[in-house]
Structures are given as C-alpha cells and as structure tokens.
C-alpha cells in the first residue's frame, strides 16, 4: 500500500518529525515501511535514511508499507504527516 504526500512544512522534514515517523514505523514489527522521494527509496525504520532524502517544502514523498499490518501502519504514518503539519495527501 502507498500514499503520496506533498511536503508543506516550510522547513521540510526535520529531525523531530523524522523521529516520530521512524518510531511509528518501527512499532509495526511484521511490516516493512519505506519512504520514496526524488528517485530514492529508503527504509522508514532508519532516521539517517529519512534525513538522507533531504526533503524540502514542495517535494513529494511516497510512504509505502508491505506486510501483515500494512493498512494500520500506513494509517498511523499518515496521521503523523498530517498532525505534524508536514505534508498533505497528494492526488
């Protein structure tokens, strides 16, 4: 499953929200989670991976989950994206 977001926070994705995303992704043990942006795909369970995307306002970011709890995981991640004012769902 996947959802694409457009980054709206003018500071891009900082360490704090990146931390929240990684902590959430890590909770779902049996589910793989990835972030894809600018032609690069990294595991969402790595803060260095997420920061290495160098996301800035206006970039698009796709969150991908695969595994037994993929729907729950994607929901939880989407909630953080929206709650933290990081991004909006991109049609």
């Amino acid at each position: 499953m996947q959802t694409t977001f457009r980054i709206i926070d003018e500071d891009g994705i900082h360490a704090r929200p990146a931390t929240a995303l990684v902590n959430t992704a890590t909770k779902f043990k049996g589910t793989e989670a990835f972030a894809e942006a600018k032609g690069k795909k990294v595991t969402l369970k790595s803060i260095l991976g997420v920061l290495s995307l160098g996301l800035e306002a206006g970039d698009t970011l796709t969150l991908i989950t695969e595994g037994s709890e993929e729907a729950e995981a994607l929901n939880a991640l989407q909630e953080i994206m929206v709650k933290e004012g990081l991004g909006e769902v991109h049609e």
Binding site: D11, G12, H14, A15, R16, A18, T19, V22, N23, V42, T43, K45, S46, I47, L48, G49, L51, S52, G54, E56
Partner: protein, 570 residues
Amino acid sequence: MSKISGIAASAGIAVARAFILEHPDYSIAKAVITDTEAEVAKLNDALEKSKAELTAIKERTLAELGEKKAEIFESHLLILEDPELISPVIDKIREELVNADYALNVVAAQFIEMFENMKSAYLQERAADMRDVTKRVLNHLLGIHYISPAEISEETIVIAEDLTPSDTAQLNRQYVKGFTTNIGGRTSHSAIMARSLEIPAVVGTKSVLSQVKAGDLVIVDGLNGDVIINPTDDVVAEYKKKQEAYNLQIAEWKKLRDEPTVSADGKHVELAANIGTPNDVNGVIDNGGEAVGLYRTEFLYMGRDKLPSEEVQYNAYRTVLENMKGKPVVVRTLDIGGDKELPYLDLPKEMNPFLGYRAIRLCLDRQDIFRTQLRALLRASVHGDLRIMFPMIATLGEFRAARDLLLEEKSKLIAEGKEVSENIQLGIMVEIPSTAVLADQFAKEVDFFSIGTNDLIQYTMAADRMNEQVSYLYQPYNPAILRLVKIVIDAAHAEGKWTGMCGEMAGDSTAIPLLLGLGLDEFSMSATSILPARSQISKLSAADMKELAAKALQLGTAEEVAALVQSINK
C-alpha cells in the same frame, strides 16, 4: 582560599563551581582482529552504554528544559539504533576483520559527508549530530571519560588548558558563567570568543588547571584578571557586590544602544563589531553595533575535517547579511596559517608561521579553496551591504591578483544566470608595515582600508604576540604604530576613501581618543566594547583630540603617549 592572576580577557564577574574540560584523543588506528564476534560484542556494549547515557541526558533535559530541547537527544538515540548505520559497521568488522572503532569511524564519516553536502542549511548542521553521536560511542570503545561542554547543565566555571573555537561554540551561556585557561592572551581566539559570548574570562593563568579540582567554588574576575579558588563567604559577598555594580554600569551603557556615535563637537564615526560566526550577530545588534567591521571567516573552516562547501559558506554569509538588515558587513577572506591551523589541509610545519604561508599567500596559491569562498560571498552579496577584504596583503600585486580572481568568479556567476550585487566594496587589511608605508598607492585601487592592529603591531615591533616573554613589546601606543596609522588614514582620505580598524586597539579606551584625533572613520571591536566606546566618544571633542594626537606623534615612547592620554581625563 587561593588566588591566581591571569589576563583579563572578557569583562564581568562570575561565581560558580568548576568544570574541568580536557580533550580526549580520538586518533584511531586500523587494526586486524581475529575474533570478529568479540569485536561485534564490544560494539554492541558501547552502543548500549551510549544509549543509557543518552536516555539519562534526555530525561534530565526534558525535566529541566522542556520537550523542545530534549528532542535532539531522542534523534541521537534513534541514530544509535539505526540499521543503516549499525549494519554496515558490523559487516565491516566481519568482512574486513577490522576493529570496531575503525569500522564505526569510517561508516560515520560517510554520513557526515552526506549531511554536509545537503542543500538545506538545517540538514547540513545534522553533520554535527552525527559527529557527537559517533564520539559518544567512541568514548566507550576507546575507554575515554569525557563530558562535552554542550552537556553542561548546571552553573559552572569552565577550566581548561585552552579552549578551541568549537569548544567555545558549544558553551551554553545559560550554564557557563565564566571560564579560565592556562594559556592564551587578550587576542587569542578563546578570549575573543569570550567577549562575543559576553562570558567573563581570565586567560593565561599558567596554572589554573592544576590548582582547581572539579566542583571547587571559583570566582572569575574578568575585570582585573583574578581567579579565586574556594573563596570564603566574605570574599564571595564582596565579589557579588562588585558584580552588581558592574551590571549597573552595563545598564547605563545600554541606554546608548540605539544612539549614533557622535563626538562632543558633532563628528560622527562608525562603531562596528568583530564577529566569528552568524550566531554572534545577535550580540552586535544587542550592543548597538552600526556594522560588522570584521567577519572572521576562518571559524567556518575550523572544527571540522574537510573544507566547507560553497553552500555551507553561502548560508553563513547570507545569514549574517540578512540579520544585519542592510547595515554594512565587512567579510575578511580566509586567514588561515599562523596560529590558526587546519589539520585537514596538512600544511607543513614552519619555523616562523606568522611570517610564512598563510592568509592571502595561501589563498592565491590554493585557488580552489579561494574561488569557492569568493563564489559563496558573491552569491550572498544580494542579501545586504557586503564588503570584502583580503588579509595579509604585502604588495599591490597580491591585491590585484586577488581582485582579478574575484572579478573572474563574478563574471562566471553572471554567465550562469546568478545574481550578484554591483555595489560590493573591496578593501584590504593593513597589517604589514610595507602596505602601511605604501598606503597612498594602495588607496588609488582599493575602496577602503581596515587596519589590523594585532598583526601590524607584532610585525612592526618584530615581537610574536603569542610569546609571553616578549609581550612587553606589544605596544599599541608606541608612536611608531601611531605614525603608521596616520599614514594609512591620511592616504585613504586623500583619495576619498575610508579607513577602519579591526584590531583590539580600536576598542581600547586609551587608544580611542588618539584614533579619533587621527581621523579614523570606523572602529571595529568586540561587541561588548561598543557601548563603553560610544559613551567615551560622546564626551570627547574631535578637534581637541586632533591636537592631542599631533602631540602624541611627537613623543618618544608608548609610556609617554599613555601618560599624555591619561592627562586629559583629569
């Protein structure tokens, strides 16, 4: 109770417990190991210990400073658990049979480099987090007991052999009330940084590190240059009183913050500040600085393991220009060498580093380094009133060569479609006697001079300013120095140009009447000296000081000059 004396490096009084800051040795050698699993276990053990430490720091920060300040440690914890970091380290140990500290250092360096090359300034700064986390694990792997100055979380006086620029950059003003060192003088970098951070400091005590134990109560008297160890209650009370009086005086000066600098007879001069990093700009504004008269760019190059990229530099210059809101910012191009070394450039040791391969000499030779800086400056120029000056110019040929490189980079940027300001003033530091003597010729080609007195004095008197045994020759009031200053100012004025001064002398209360009299246009000093200087100048008549300076130029010794200036105070 005991008392030692040093050099008063930064005004003010501080009373707090001692924190001993000593630097661990992080030199890491590659070793071949046989028991890879034992090495992996060692790594895991170091990681666990680091996590325990970070968790404790995080919780303490959370309780004392709130969620916002604690978040950074949460990110550090995640880095320690990050499979993208840990797996490659373990793979390296197992596949290459190398020691854990070496493997960690290599992998971490790749991430540090990745962050440094990112476009956003915020992400570039994450390289520092990566370094911190790596050092924390290395401490455990190498058996080093070290608390970084950034972790200080109670009111302390920092005691050290010397403080590096990166140490001082990490000092938290909320907790670090003062510092004192064994070595250094008024113009050493730790002293200069103390003044820009407005932390009382006494340097050059020779022995404070051996006399103070962690936790001792210490008074740092940055007004007189005294350090008192384990004072009695009476002495503490006496110093608290002194501290209050000083604070009152500061409050008095603060009233002049938004006033122009005008002499009693109506002559306006500009009071500017010397800065080392973009963080110092707040201090300039708070102290009523009318400009930045010297931005020392070498701090951008220090405390790291490779040259800063164009992007890193551009962001720093742009931040300073924007925060100064259109007020002039004089940026000095890289002045490295002498007492300021860059380990990663691997420069050969010299017999006389102050007379050797440094500053513009190095930049004209290593054009790759210089051109990167010039491009970053040119790109930043559209964000404010940028002025560029070259350090250590000894000949007109050097100035022309540096100027031509600047013009080349400017044309290239314009060809690339980048915006560059058309109003960048271009000047030189006058710190070598040959240039002072030939100032009339230079004045035809430069837009301004900035007299760097620290070096001008040491080169004119042939006395190393770092050598305490010849420190009596550091004589700002020597008529020989005053005559050189006069030559430079007169030469500039004859061509309709301006002259500033960015050495310590510009903020010195004995020198100020003389400099005003010699016609100096801009005085650039530590931010904290600006308001006292403004107060002093407002009480002086420029016309009278012109006569005073003329008399001083006819005297024979520095002592006679100082006595002459003192006489007007009566």
